[in-house]
Protein backbone atom coordinates (compact mmCIF):
# COMPACT_ATOMS: atom_id res chain seq x y z
CA UNK A 1 0.00 0.00 0.00
CA UNK A 2 1.27 3.47 -0.88
CA UNK A 3 1.50 6.29 1.66
CA UNK A 4 -0.83 9.19 0.86
CA UNK A 5 -0.30 12.90 1.48
CA UNK A 6 -2.14 16.18 1.10
CA UNK A 7 -0.17 18.39 -1.30
CA UNK A 8 -2.46 21.41 -1.49
CA UNK A 9 -5.50 22.95 0.19
CA UNK A 10 -8.01 25.69 -0.51
CA UNK A 11 -11.12 27.13 1.10
CA UNK A 12 -13.88 29.69 0.60
CA UNK A 13 -15.17 32.21 3.06
CA UNK A 14 -17.82 30.45 5.17
CA UNK A 15 -21.14 32.15 5.91
CA UNK A 16 -24.35 33.27 4.26
CA UNK A 17 -22.85 33.52 0.80
CA UNK A 18 -24.14 35.33 -2.29
CA UNK A 19 -23.06 32.33 -4.32
CA UNK A 20 -24.61 29.16 -5.72
CA UNK A 21 -23.59 25.58 -4.94
CA UNK A 22 -21.49 25.54 -8.11
CA UNK A 23 -19.99 28.99 -7.43
CA UNK A 24 -18.77 27.81 -4.04
CA UNK A 25 -17.05 24.76 -5.56
CA UNK A 26 -15.33 26.99 -8.11
CA UNK A 27 -14.11 29.36 -5.39
CA UNK A 28 -12.61 26.52 -3.35
CA UNK A 29 -10.88 25.13 -6.45
CA UNK A 30 -9.43 28.55 -7.31
CA UNK A 31 -8.17 28.98 -3.75
CA UNK A 32 -6.54 25.55 -3.94
CA UNK A 33 -4.96 25.79 -7.39
CA UNK A 34 -3.79 29.39 -6.80
CA UNK A 35 -2.07 28.28 -3.60
CA UNK A 36 -0.02 25.53 -5.26
CA UNK A 37 1.30 28.07 -7.77
CA UNK A 38 1.17 25.87 -10.84
CA UNK A 39 2.67 22.74 -9.26
CA UNK A 40 -0.66 21.03 -9.98
CA UNK A 41 -3.25 22.22 -12.49
CA UNK A 42 -6.82 20.99 -12.88
CA UNK A 43 -5.70 19.15 -16.04
CA UNK A 44 -3.22 17.09 -13.94
CA UNK A 45 -5.93 15.69 -11.66
CA UNK A 46 -7.09 12.18 -12.56
CA UNK A 47 -9.68 11.59 -9.83
CA UNK A 48 -12.36 13.56 -8.00
CA UNK A 49 -14.38 12.81 -4.88
CA UNK A 50 -17.01 15.40 -3.98
CA UNK A 51 -18.40 15.54 -0.48
CA UNK A 52 -21.83 17.11 -0.12
CA UNK A 53 -24.99 16.29 1.81
CA UNK A 54 -28.13 17.86 0.41
CA UNK A 55 -27.70 19.47 -3.01
CA UNK A 56 -30.76 17.49 -4.15
CA UNK A 57 -32.91 19.59 -1.83
CA UNK A 58 -31.01 22.85 -1.33
CA UNK A 59 -29.59 23.23 -4.86
CA UNK A 60 -31.92 20.88 -6.82
CA UNK A 61 -28.94 19.06 -8.28
CA UNK A 62 -27.72 15.49 -8.19
CA UNK A 63 -25.10 13.88 -10.52
CA UNK A 64 -22.71 15.81 -8.35
CA UNK A 65 -19.20 14.63 -9.14
CA UNK A 66 -19.62 15.30 -12.86
CA UNK A 67 -21.08 18.79 -12.48
CA UNK A 68 -18.32 19.74 -10.04
CA UNK A 69 -15.57 18.13 -12.14
CA UNK A 70 -16.63 20.19 -15.17
CA UNK A 71 -16.97 23.32 -13.01
CA UNK A 72 -13.38 23.04 -11.76
CA UNK A 73 -11.79 21.87 -15.04
CA UNK A 74 -11.15 18.26 -14.08
CA UNK A 75 -11.68 15.35 -16.53
CA UNK A 76 -11.51 12.24 -14.35
CA UNK A 77 -9.79 9.14 -15.71
CA UNK A 78 -9.34 7.10 -12.49
CA UNK A 79 -12.20 7.75 -10.09
CA UNK A 80 -15.22 10.07 -9.93
CA UNK A 81 -17.60 9.86 -6.99
CA UNK A 82 -19.82 11.78 -4.64
CA UNK A 83 -19.83 10.94 -0.95
CA UNK A 84 -22.71 11.64 1.42
CA UNK A 85 -22.47 10.73 5.07
CA UNK A 86 -24.24 13.68 6.64
CA UNK A 87 -21.83 15.83 8.69
CA UNK A 88 -19.01 13.27 8.36
CA UNK A 89 -19.09 13.36 4.55
CA UNK A 90 -15.78 15.23 4.21
CA UNK A 91 -13.75 12.85 6.33
CA UNK A 92 -15.41 9.84 4.70
CA UNK A 93 -14.49 11.28 1.28
CA UNK A 94 -10.88 11.75 2.35
CA UNK A 95 -10.68 8.17 3.62
CA UNK A 96 -12.09 6.76 0.36
CA UNK A 97 -9.90 8.93 -1.88
CA UNK A 98 -6.89 7.97 0.22
CA UNK A 99 -7.72 4.28 -0.15
CA UNK A 100 -8.06 4.69 -3.92
CA UNK A 101 -4.56 6.18 -4.07
CA UNK A 102 -3.03 3.73 -1.59
CA UNK A 103 -4.21 0.77 -3.66
CA UNK A 104 -3.05 2.26 -6.98
CA UNK A 105 -6.51 2.91 -8.39
CA UNK A 106 -5.83 6.65 -8.62
CA UNK A 107 -2.90 9.10 -8.54
CA UNK A 108 -3.86 12.73 -7.99
CA UNK A 109 -7.30 13.05 -6.46
CA UNK A 110 -9.19 16.27 -5.79
CA UNK A 111 -11.40 15.99 -2.70
CA UNK A 112 -13.85 18.87 -2.72
CA UNK A 113 -16.45 19.44 0.00
CA UNK A 114 -19.25 21.89 -0.75
CA UNK A 115 -22.59 22.81 0.76
CA UNK A 116 -25.15 25.48 -0.08
CA UNK A 117 -27.54 25.59 2.87
CA UNK A 118 -28.95 29.10 3.03
CA UNK A 119 -32.19 29.60 1.08
CA UNK A 120 -34.66 32.51 1.16
CA UNK A 121 -36.77 30.72 3.80
CA UNK A 122 -34.64 29.51 6.72
CA UNK A 123 -37.34 27.12 7.93
CA UNK A 124 -37.05 25.29 4.59
CA UNK A 125 -33.45 24.42 5.36
CA UNK A 126 -34.47 23.29 8.85
CA UNK A 127 -37.05 21.09 7.11
CA UNK A 128 -34.43 19.75 4.69
CA UNK A 129 -32.15 18.93 7.63
CA UNK A 130 -34.68 16.21 8.50
CA UNK A 131 -33.01 14.21 5.73
CA UNK A 132 -30.11 13.83 8.15
CA UNK A 133 -32.05 11.93 10.79
CA UNK A 134 -34.66 9.16 10.61
CA UNK A 135 -37.13 11.24 8.62
CA UNK A 136 -40.11 8.88 8.77
CA UNK A 137 -39.84 7.95 12.46
CA UNK A 138 -38.19 11.07 13.95
CA UNK A 139 -38.32 13.88 11.39
CA UNK A 140 -42.09 13.54 10.89
CA UNK A 141 -42.43 14.75 14.49
CA UNK A 142 -40.45 17.92 13.71
CA UNK A 143 -37.10 16.64 14.93
CA UNK A 144 -33.79 17.93 13.58
CA UNK A 145 -30.27 17.64 15.04
CA UNK A 146 -30.31 20.18 17.90
CA UNK A 147 -32.70 18.32 20.23
CA UNK A 148 -30.82 15.05 19.69
CA UNK A 149 -27.60 16.53 21.05
CA UNK A 150 -29.63 18.24 23.76
CA UNK A 151 -30.42 14.75 25.06
CA UNK A 152 -26.66 14.17 25.36
CA UNK A 153 -26.17 17.48 27.14
CA UNK A 154 -28.92 16.78 29.67
CA UNK A 155 -27.63 13.27 30.32
CA UNK A 156 -24.02 14.46 30.67
CA UNK A 157 -25.05 17.21 33.08
CA UNK A 158 -27.05 14.75 35.20
CA UNK A 159 -24.41 12.05 35.29
CA UNK A 160 -21.18 14.04 35.46
CA UNK A 161 -22.27 17.42 36.81
CA UNK A 162 -21.25 19.27 33.65
CA UNK A 163 -22.34 22.91 33.97
CA UNK A 164 -23.73 25.53 31.57
CA UNK A 165 -20.56 27.57 32.24
CA UNK A 166 -18.45 24.64 31.03
CA UNK A 167 -20.54 24.40 27.86
CA UNK A 168 -20.09 28.16 27.42
CA UNK A 169 -16.32 27.67 27.66
CA UNK A 170 -16.43 25.67 24.41
CA UNK A 171 -18.15 28.52 22.56
CA UNK A 172 -15.95 31.23 24.08
CA UNK A 173 -12.76 29.33 23.18
CA UNK A 174 -13.84 28.46 19.65
CA UNK A 175 -15.10 31.94 18.85
CA UNK A 176 -11.78 33.33 20.13
CA UNK A 177 -9.92 30.91 17.86
CA UNK A 178 -12.16 31.82 14.91
CA UNK A 179 -11.20 35.46 15.37
CA UNK A 180 -7.81 34.42 13.94
CA UNK A 181 -9.40 32.71 10.93
CA UNK A 182 -10.32 34.91 7.97
CA UNK A 183 -12.52 32.14 6.50
CA UNK A 184 -14.71 31.75 9.61
CA UNK A 185 -18.39 32.71 9.55
CA UNK A 186 -18.06 34.22 13.06
CA UNK A 187 -14.58 35.80 13.34
CA UNK A 188 -15.50 37.73 16.48
CA UNK A 189 -15.08 36.65 20.12
CA UNK A 190 -18.04 36.52 22.49
CA UNK A 191 -18.08 36.60 26.29
CA UNK A 192 -20.10 34.74 28.91
CA UNK A 193 -22.62 37.58 29.26
CA UNK A 194 -23.44 37.46 25.54
CA UNK A 195 -23.60 33.65 25.60
CA UNK A 196 -26.02 33.77 28.54
CA UNK A 197 -28.24 36.45 26.99
CA UNK A 198 -28.91 34.47 23.80
CA UNK A 199 -32.34 33.07 22.96
CA UNK A 200 -33.11 29.48 23.98
CA UNK A 201 -33.08 26.96 21.12
CA UNK A 202 -33.77 23.57 22.68
CA UNK A 203 -33.22 22.85 26.34
CA UNK A 204 -30.49 23.16 27.58
CA UNK A 205 -29.02 24.79 24.43
CA UNK A 206 -29.12 28.48 23.73
CA UNK A 207 -28.17 30.04 20.39
CA UNK A 208 -24.40 30.03 20.92
CA UNK A 209 -24.31 26.35 21.86
CA UNK A 210 -25.17 25.61 18.23
CA UNK A 211 -23.20 25.80 15.00
CA UNK A 212 -24.82 27.81 12.24
CA UNK A 213 -26.49 27.14 8.88
CA UNK A 214 -23.56 27.88 6.60
CA UNK A 215 -22.57 27.97 2.94
CA UNK A 216 -18.99 27.10 2.06
CA UNK A 217 -16.53 24.83 0.31
CA UNK A 218 -13.05 23.44 0.85
CA UNK A 219 -10.72 21.37 -1.29
CA UNK A 220 -7.53 19.34 -0.96
CA UNK A 221 -5.37 17.37 -3.39
CA UNK A 222 -4.24 13.91 -2.30
CA UNK A 223 -1.20 12.23 -3.86
CA UNK A 224 0.86 9.05 -3.43
CA UNK A 225 4.28 9.43 -1.77
CA UNK A 226 6.45 9.67 -4.91
CA UNK A 227 4.22 12.29 -6.53
CA UNK A 228 3.85 14.17 -3.25
CA UNK A 229 7.62 14.50 -2.90
CA UNK A 230 7.80 15.97 -6.41
CA UNK A 231 4.96 18.40 -5.86
CA UNK A 232 5.85 19.91 -2.49
CA UNK A 233 8.66 20.15 0.05
CA UNK A 234 6.19 19.73 2.90
CA UNK A 235 3.64 17.00 2.24
CA UNK A 236 1.16 16.35 5.05
CA UNK A 237 0.70 12.62 5.51
CA UNK A 238 -2.46 10.72 6.25
CA UNK A 239 -1.16 8.58 9.13
CA UNK A 240 -4.31 6.65 9.95
CA UNK A 241 -8.08 6.80 10.21
CA UNK A 242 -11.15 5.13 11.66
CA UNK A 243 -14.92 5.04 11.49
CA UNK A 244 -17.59 3.37 13.59
CA UNK A 245 -21.39 3.49 13.83
CA UNK A 246 -23.53 1.83 16.49
CA UNK A 247 -27.06 2.86 15.47
CA UNK A 248 -29.19 5.33 13.53
CA UNK A 249 -32.53 5.92 15.24
CA UNK A 250 -32.19 7.73 18.58
CA UNK A 251 -34.20 5.04 20.35
CA UNK A 252 -31.44 2.53 19.64
CA UNK A 253 -28.63 4.29 21.54
CA UNK A 254 -26.26 1.74 23.11
CA UNK A 255 -27.61 0.90 26.57
CA UNK A 256 -30.05 3.79 26.11
CA UNK A 257 -27.34 6.29 27.05
CA UNK A 258 -26.74 9.58 25.28
CA UNK A 259 -23.74 10.85 27.28
CA UNK A 260 -21.63 7.85 26.32
CA UNK A 261 -20.41 7.47 22.72
CA UNK A 262 -18.87 4.01 22.27
CA UNK A 263 -18.74 4.48 18.48
CA UNK A 264 -16.28 7.33 18.97
CA UNK A 265 -14.09 5.20 21.26
CA UNK A 266 -14.08 2.49 18.59
CA UNK A 267 -13.28 4.91 15.75
CA UNK A 268 -10.51 6.46 17.86
CA UNK A 269 -9.00 3.05 18.63
CA UNK A 270 -8.93 2.28 14.88
CA UNK A 271 -7.45 5.67 14.02
CA UNK A 272 -4.77 5.68 16.71
CA UNK A 273 -3.97 2.03 15.98
CA UNK A 274 -3.57 2.54 12.24
CA UNK A 275 -1.44 5.66 12.82
CA UNK A 276 0.64 3.93 15.50
CA UNK A 277 0.09 6.74 18.00
CA UNK A 278 -1.87 7.48 21.18
CA UNK A 279 -3.98 10.48 22.18
CA UNK A 280 -0.94 11.87 24.02
CA UNK A 281 0.87 12.30 20.69
CA UNK A 282 -1.78 14.61 19.22
CA UNK A 283 -0.80 18.30 19.21
CA UNK A 284 -4.10 19.70 17.97
CA UNK A 285 -7.48 18.31 16.98
CA UNK A 286 -10.23 19.61 14.76
CA UNK A 287 -13.20 18.18 16.67
CA UNK A 288 -16.85 18.17 15.64
CA UNK A 289 -18.41 20.84 17.89
CA UNK A 290 -21.77 20.97 16.10
CA UNK A 291 -23.04 21.71 19.62
CA UNK A 292 -20.98 22.59 22.69
CA UNK A 293 -21.68 19.24 24.35
CA UNK A 294 -20.35 17.41 21.29
CA UNK A 295 -16.86 18.86 21.83
CA UNK A 296 -17.02 18.07 25.56
CA UNK A 297 -17.89 14.41 24.93
CA UNK A 298 -15.48 14.10 21.99
CA UNK A 299 -12.50 15.25 24.12
CA UNK A 300 -13.35 12.44 26.53
CA UNK A 301 -13.94 9.67 24.00
CA UNK A 302 -10.85 10.68 21.99
CA UNK A 303 -8.84 10.06 25.14
CA UNK A 304 -7.67 13.62 25.85
CA UNK A 305 -9.20 13.48 29.36
CA UNK A 306 -11.06 11.06 31.63
CA UNK A 307 -14.67 10.13 30.84
CA UNK A 308 -16.91 12.74 32.47
CA UNK A 309 -14.13 15.34 32.82
CA UNK A 310 -14.67 17.02 29.44
CA UNK A 311 -16.40 20.07 30.90
CA UNK A 312 -13.62 20.75 33.37
CA UNK A 313 -11.02 20.06 30.64
CA UNK A 314 -12.25 22.90 28.42
CA UNK A 315 -13.10 25.28 31.29
CA UNK A 316 -9.58 24.95 32.72
CA UNK A 317 -7.92 25.77 29.40
CA UNK A 318 -6.52 22.29 28.76
CA UNK A 319 -7.91 22.36 25.21
CA UNK A 320 -6.54 25.83 24.45
CA UNK A 321 -3.12 27.09 23.36
CA UNK A 322 -0.65 26.16 26.10
CA UNK A 323 -2.86 23.30 27.33
CA UNK A 324 -2.65 19.55 26.77
CA UNK A 325 -3.99 19.65 23.20
CA UNK A 326 -5.35 22.56 21.16
CA UNK A 327 -8.93 21.72 20.24
CA UNK A 328 -10.35 23.49 17.19
CA UNK A 329 -7.62 26.02 16.38
CA UNK A 330 -9.53 27.11 13.24
CA UNK A 331 -12.57 27.87 15.44
CA UNK A 332 -14.47 24.64 14.99
CA UNK A 333 -18.01 24.46 13.67
CA UNK A 334 -19.18 26.99 16.26
CA UNK A 335 -16.68 29.57 15.03
CA UNK A 336 -16.45 28.69 11.33
CA UNK A 337 -20.04 27.61 10.72
CA UNK A 338 -20.97 24.18 9.43
CA UNK A 339 -21.41 23.72 5.67
CA UNK A 340 -22.05 20.00 6.15
CA UNK A 341 -20.15 18.37 3.30
CA UNK A 342 -17.35 20.94 3.44
CA UNK A 343 -16.56 20.63 7.14
CA UNK A 344 -14.35 17.53 7.09
CA UNK A 345 -12.43 18.86 4.09
CA UNK A 346 -11.97 22.20 5.87
CA UNK A 347 -10.56 20.23 8.83
CA UNK A 348 -8.12 18.56 6.42
CA UNK A 349 -7.12 21.95 5.04
CA UNK A 350 -6.50 23.23 8.58
CA UNK A 351 -4.36 20.18 9.31
CA UNK A 352 -2.42 20.90 6.12
CA UNK A 353 -1.72 24.51 7.10
CA UNK A 354 -1.00 23.77 10.77
CA UNK A 355 1.41 20.92 10.01
CA UNK A 356 3.29 23.07 7.47
CA UNK A 357 3.54 25.97 9.93
CA UNK A 358 1.35 28.16 7.69
CA UNK A 359 -1.58 28.83 10.04
CA UNK A 360 -0.55 32.39 10.87
CA UNK A 361 -1.91 33.83 14.11
CA UNK A 362 -3.68 30.57 14.96
CA UNK A 363 -0.57 28.41 14.48
CA UNK A 364 -0.16 25.67 17.09
CA UNK A 365 3.56 25.90 17.95
CA UNK A 366 5.67 23.08 16.48
CA UNK A 367 2.61 20.97 15.60
CA UNK A 368 3.67 17.49 14.44
CA UNK A 369 0.45 15.47 14.62
CA UNK A 370 -3.11 16.67 14.05
CA UNK A 371 -6.48 14.98 14.14
CA UNK A 372 -9.76 15.61 12.35
CA UNK A 373 -13.01 14.26 13.77
CA UNK A 374 -16.56 14.54 12.54
CA UNK A 375 -19.69 12.97 13.94
CA UNK A 376 -22.72 12.33 11.78
CA UNK A 377 -24.96 12.00 14.81
CA UNK A 378 -24.12 10.89 18.32
CA UNK A 379 -23.62 7.21 17.37
CA UNK A 380 -21.50 7.81 14.24
CA UNK A 381 -17.89 8.97 14.13
CA UNK A 382 -15.13 9.35 11.55
CA UNK A 383 -11.52 10.29 12.27
CA UNK A 384 -8.46 11.06 10.13
CA UNK A 385 -4.98 11.58 11.65
CA UNK A 386 -2.35 13.69 9.89
CA UNK A 387 1.39 14.16 10.38
CA UNK A 388 4.39 15.91 8.87
CA UNK A 389 7.85 14.57 8.02
Amino acid sequence: MRRVAIVGAGITKFGVRQATFRDLAAEAAKSLFDSVKGAVKPQDIDGIVVSTVMPERNAFQSHISSVIAETVGVKPTSISARVEHMCASGNVAIRLASAAIATGMAELVLVLGVEKLNTPVAAETFLNMMCGIDREWEGAYGLTAPPTFALAAQAHMRKYGTTPEQLAAVTIKNRRHAANNPYAQWPTPIDLAKYNSAKPITSPFKLFDCSAITDGAAAVILAPEDRARDLTDKPVWILGSGQAITNFNLANAPEGRYEDWPALRKAAASAYGSAGITADDVDFAEVHDCFTIAEVIATEELGFCEKGAGGEFVASGQSDYGGKVVINPRGGLIGCGHPLGATGVAQAAENFWQLRGEAGPRQVPDAKIGLAHTNSGMPEHTIVIYGRD
Partner: protein, 144 residues
Protein backbone atom coordinates in the same frame (compact mmCIF):
# COMPACT_ATOMS: atom_id res chain seq x y z
CA UNK B 1 -42.13 34.77 0.84
CA UNK B 2 -44.86 33.23 2.94
CA UNK B 3 -44.27 29.81 4.39
CA UNK B 4 -47.92 28.91 3.91
CA UNK B 5 -47.85 28.84 0.13
CA UNK B 6 -44.24 27.76 -0.29
CA UNK B 7 -44.21 24.47 -2.19
CA UNK B 8 -41.69 21.79 -1.43
CA UNK B 9 -41.05 18.49 -3.15
CA UNK B 10 -42.33 16.11 -0.50
CA UNK B 11 -43.69 16.65 2.95
CA UNK B 12 -41.95 15.17 5.99
CA UNK B 13 -44.64 12.64 6.83
CA UNK B 14 -44.49 8.91 6.11
CA UNK B 15 -46.33 7.33 3.21
CA UNK B 16 -48.94 5.41 5.15
CA UNK B 17 -51.09 3.73 2.49
CA UNK B 18 -50.78 0.08 1.47
CA UNK B 19 -49.95 1.28 -2.06
CA UNK B 20 -46.56 2.58 -1.13
CA UNK B 21 -45.54 1.18 2.24
CA UNK B 22 -44.95 -2.37 3.40
CA UNK B 23 -45.24 -1.40 7.08
CA UNK B 24 -48.69 0.07 6.41
CA UNK B 25 -50.29 -2.24 9.02
CA UNK B 26 -48.66 -0.03 11.66
CA UNK B 27 -50.53 2.97 10.28
CA UNK B 28 -53.72 1.02 9.61
CA UNK B 29 -53.75 0.07 13.29
CA UNK B 30 -52.92 3.64 14.32
CA UNK B 31 -55.98 4.88 12.44
CA UNK B 32 -58.05 2.44 14.57
CA UNK B 33 -56.46 3.85 17.72
CA UNK B 34 -54.24 0.81 18.24
CA UNK B 35 -50.49 0.81 18.93
CA UNK B 36 -48.74 -2.16 17.33
CA UNK B 37 -45.28 -3.30 16.31
CA UNK B 38 -43.96 -6.26 14.36
CA UNK B 39 -42.23 -9.22 16.02
CA UNK B 40 -40.07 -11.77 14.23
CA UNK B 41 -41.74 -15.17 14.48
CA UNK B 42 -38.42 -16.95 13.89
CA UNK B 43 -36.01 -15.27 16.34
CA UNK B 44 -38.62 -13.63 18.58
CA UNK B 45 -37.16 -10.14 18.48
CA UNK B 46 -38.96 -6.81 18.13
CA UNK B 47 -37.29 -3.66 16.79
CA UNK B 48 -37.92 0.04 16.55
CA UNK B 49 -38.88 1.36 14.07
CA UNK B 50 -41.28 -1.36 12.80
CA UNK B 51 -39.99 -3.80 10.17
CA UNK B 52 -41.35 -6.25 7.64
CA UNK B 53 -38.00 -8.07 7.39
CA UNK B 54 -36.11 -8.96 10.57
CA UNK B 55 -32.69 -7.25 10.67
CA UNK B 56 -31.43 -9.94 13.04
CA UNK B 57 -32.24 -13.13 11.08
CA UNK B 58 -33.59 -11.79 7.75
CA UNK B 59 -36.86 -13.63 8.23
CA UNK B 60 -39.92 -12.10 6.59
CA UNK B 61 -42.15 -13.97 8.99
CA UNK B 62 -43.06 -10.92 11.06
CA UNK B 63 -46.35 -10.60 12.91
CA UNK B 64 -48.02 -7.44 14.18
CA UNK B 65 -48.96 -7.38 17.87
CA UNK B 66 -50.20 -4.77 20.32
CA UNK B 67 -47.55 -3.04 22.44
CA UNK B 68 -48.09 -1.29 25.82
CA UNK B 69 -49.79 2.09 25.58
CA UNK B 70 -48.04 3.43 28.67
CA UNK B 71 -44.43 4.14 29.42
CA UNK B 72 -41.89 6.43 31.07
CA UNK B 73 -39.92 9.45 29.84
CA UNK B 74 -36.22 8.57 29.79
CA UNK B 75 -34.91 11.71 28.03
CA UNK B 76 -36.41 14.87 26.56
CA UNK B 77 -35.71 18.33 25.13
CA UNK B 78 -38.03 21.29 24.63
CA UNK B 79 -37.34 23.09 21.34
CA UNK B 80 -38.38 26.73 21.32
CA UNK B 81 -36.65 28.06 18.20
CA UNK B 82 -35.38 26.90 14.81
CA UNK B 83 -38.10 24.34 14.15
CA UNK B 84 -38.71 23.09 10.59
CA UNK B 85 -41.22 24.59 8.21
CA UNK B 86 -44.73 23.46 9.06
CA UNK B 87 -44.07 22.99 12.78
CA UNK B 88 -44.83 25.38 15.62
CA UNK B 89 -42.69 25.65 18.76
CA UNK B 90 -42.49 24.67 21.51
CA UNK B 91 -41.94 21.06 20.49
CA UNK B 92 -41.32 18.59 23.32
CA UNK B 93 -39.26 15.66 22.02
CA UNK B 94 -38.81 12.58 24.18
CA UNK B 95 -37.44 9.08 24.33
CA UNK B 96 -40.12 6.87 25.85
CA UNK B 97 -39.58 3.46 27.38
CA UNK B 98 -42.78 1.45 26.99
CA UNK B 99 -43.77 -0.89 29.80
CA UNK B 100 -42.43 -3.87 27.80
CA UNK B 101 -38.99 -2.22 27.67
CA UNK B 102 -39.20 -1.08 24.02
CA UNK B 103 -37.70 2.38 23.57
CA UNK B 104 -38.88 4.77 20.92
CA UNK B 105 -38.74 8.41 19.94
CA UNK B 106 -41.87 10.54 20.01
CA UNK B 107 -43.30 13.86 21.05
CA UNK B 108 -45.06 14.89 24.27
CA UNK B 109 -48.23 16.68 23.20
CA UNK B 110 -50.46 19.11 25.07
CA UNK B 111 -48.03 19.60 27.96
CA UNK B 112 -46.63 22.64 29.67
CA UNK B 113 -42.86 22.30 29.14
CA UNK B 114 -42.15 22.90 32.85
CA UNK B 115 -44.25 19.84 33.73
CA UNK B 116 -42.16 17.43 31.69
CA UNK B 117 -39.57 15.50 33.68
CA UNK B 118 -37.47 12.38 33.28
CA UNK B 119 -39.26 9.48 34.99
CA UNK B 120 -42.78 10.85 34.46
CA UNK B 121 -45.42 8.45 33.17
CA UNK B 122 -46.91 9.00 29.72
CA UNK B 123 -49.78 7.53 27.70
CA UNK B 124 -49.98 6.87 23.94
CA UNK B 125 -52.40 8.82 21.76
CA UNK B 126 -53.15 9.19 18.04
CA UNK B 127 -53.00 12.62 16.37
CA UNK B 128 -54.21 13.55 12.90
CA UNK B 129 -51.58 15.36 10.83
CA UNK B 130 -52.91 18.92 10.50
CA UNK B 131 -54.28 19.95 7.08
CA UNK B 132 -53.21 16.68 5.47
CA UNK B 133 -54.91 15.77 2.18
CA UNK B 134 -54.26 12.08 2.75
CA UNK B 135 -55.83 11.72 6.23
CA UNK B 136 -52.57 10.54 7.72
CA UNK B 137 -51.96 10.21 11.45
CA UNK B 138 -49.01 10.13 13.83
CA UNK B 139 -48.74 9.03 17.44
CA UNK B 140 -47.60 11.05 20.40
CA UNK B 141 -47.71 10.77 24.17
CA UNK B 142 -49.36 12.84 26.87
CA UNK B 143 -48.49 13.05 30.54
CA UNK B 144 -50.43 10.34 32.39
Amino acid sequence: MSQDNYIYTIDPYPLESADFNRVHPFFDALKEGRFVNSRCQDCGQMFWPPRFICPNCMSDNMKWEDVPREGTIVAFSVQESGVPMGFKPPLIFAIIELDNGLRLFSRIADAIPEEVEIGKRVRFQVEPIPNDHFDRVLFSFKLA
